[in-house]
Symmetry: C3
Subunit: 207 residues, 3 copies
């Protein structure tokens, strides 16, 4: 008789881990793009592909949520976690697309800072998610605090970079473009913070 | 003895159908405005009126939700569906108001494309809603997929039209105005996609 | 034997009242800033401090929510109320920070109007919250309607002020700055309306 020894709900964790691996890959492309700007167009295509895979993972999680009677985490937490991770990816992809369609010539210093912050946040997310299988509160919360701290840093980068853009009295159209790109990058870090908020809430409930 | 044969909760469906008729009317005004731009001011007034009616329908749904003990759909789904439909209307109205207050002189090609997409999405919504009374999953999901596809199309129009705006090197103030109007129109299509997402989730639960 | 006569859940109300006192203080600083613009930098620092206190109150409410088994209001309402109040504060703080970092020279007439509207909304919120302890529906709903009316007024101020900005054909970079500041101020009034929406829903459930 064939049957699975692993309860099927376990697979939520598998899907979340695939999502976080996906996130990490996207963040690395973003860093590479800002470091080697000549690859911007190719990297935007790879990013689009990763975002597409992220969408499919998200749909799989949602479909499974509807089919599964007893879930290993609260249904709303599974939904919130999947959405938050998908949002991080969406904003990375949008920023990467704008770099191409706005015909930006080079990555600015703040763009590099944002990419580095997002990469560090996704590394933290990638560390946390496997630990949700067997919650160790202290261990997880430490990483959530770090994600939070990184978001505050991104907030500072946004404020300073936008103030500097206006200060530069450059071409208003270029100011508009970069403002939007910085905004998209900062929103990616906000969404990463959302991931941490959901994880914190899961951990607190289980404590 | 006078009493209603129709259980009172049925009226949620009536209210949703009124909302979708309202949405359809608003989308048609938007199309007419972009086709015959000399009517922009009159049409903005009619749109404002429709948005006002939409608000009242929304309030009626919410008030009824608080009064009704057993609802024909999950409470949160009723709330989400009413909100999503109200959001579509709000963004159409906001875009229509900006065309007047920003003293725009004519409708651009992307504005017409957005209006056409929104009109098609509201037609799909108008087809779906009456079928929620007696859920036929396949039939409904087909329309949800089409609404989704239309949102992807609007996304493409936004990306191309904003890139073209910047490319034109036109007056920065005009670029700002159109960017905002395109953004509002695209957000109307996002919200229409939200309607489809809620409907899909209702259908999956009932399946 | 020492024990508290006040059930511990009562303290949610205490925390909400502290939050609303905090909101009121922030709104008064905003009014003072637009009236006496030479204090803009000092006031932004005070605002930042108040926002920080608001964050701590918010975290305390959330942590207590996780620890408390029986809450005096629905859990989701406590969450929504705390979030909405925190959002009002965040937008006030963001607007106040932009006035400094964008090196704005003086407060415009619309900035003063927004500050006055927000101050009136926070006064209404400050009146409502203590009444949640012992709900008197009519009394509370009257204030919710007023908060709503004020939000409509802010909406009008936004539309008129942004149209006037474009009409002025001024420096595009200055137009961008003020547009963003007006937007942040208007979003503070939106979030104040959210507070009223949550309160209305609490009152309707208890009626």
């Amino acid at each position: 008789m064939a049957f699975s020894l692993v309860p099927r709900e376990e697979s939520f964790f598998d899907l979340f881990e695939k999502s976080s691996t996906n996130l990490l890959a996207a963040a690395r492309i973003l860093v590479e793009t800002t470091d080697h700007f000549d690859r911007v167009a190719d990297n935007a295509k790879r990013m689009k592909q990763i975002e597409h895979e992220g969408d499919q993972l998200m749909h799989e999680i949602m479909a499974r949520l509807h089919r599964t009677f007893i879930t290993p985490l609260d249904r709303e937490d599974i939904h919130a976690l999947a959405s938050a991770m998908d949002d991080v990816l969406d904003f990375m992809e949008e920023a990467s697309e704008r770099l191409v369609s706005y015909r930006v010539r080079e990555a600015t210093a703040p763009a590099k800072e944002f990419a580095a912050i997002i990469a560090r946040q996704t590394e933290e997310i990638h560390r946390i998610l496997p630990r949700l299988r067997k919650v160790k509160a202290d261990d997880i919360l430490k990483h959530c605090i770090e994600i939070n701290r990184l978001e505050n840093e991104a907030d500072r980068v946004l404020r300073e970079s936008v103030a500097a853009l206006f200060e530069s009295r450059g071409d208003p159209l270029d100011v508009m473009k970069w403002r939007e790109i910085y905004d998209l990058l900062e929103r990616a870090t906000d969404k990463a913070e959302n991931v941490a908020v959901v994880v914190e809430s899961i951990v607190l409930k289980m404590a």
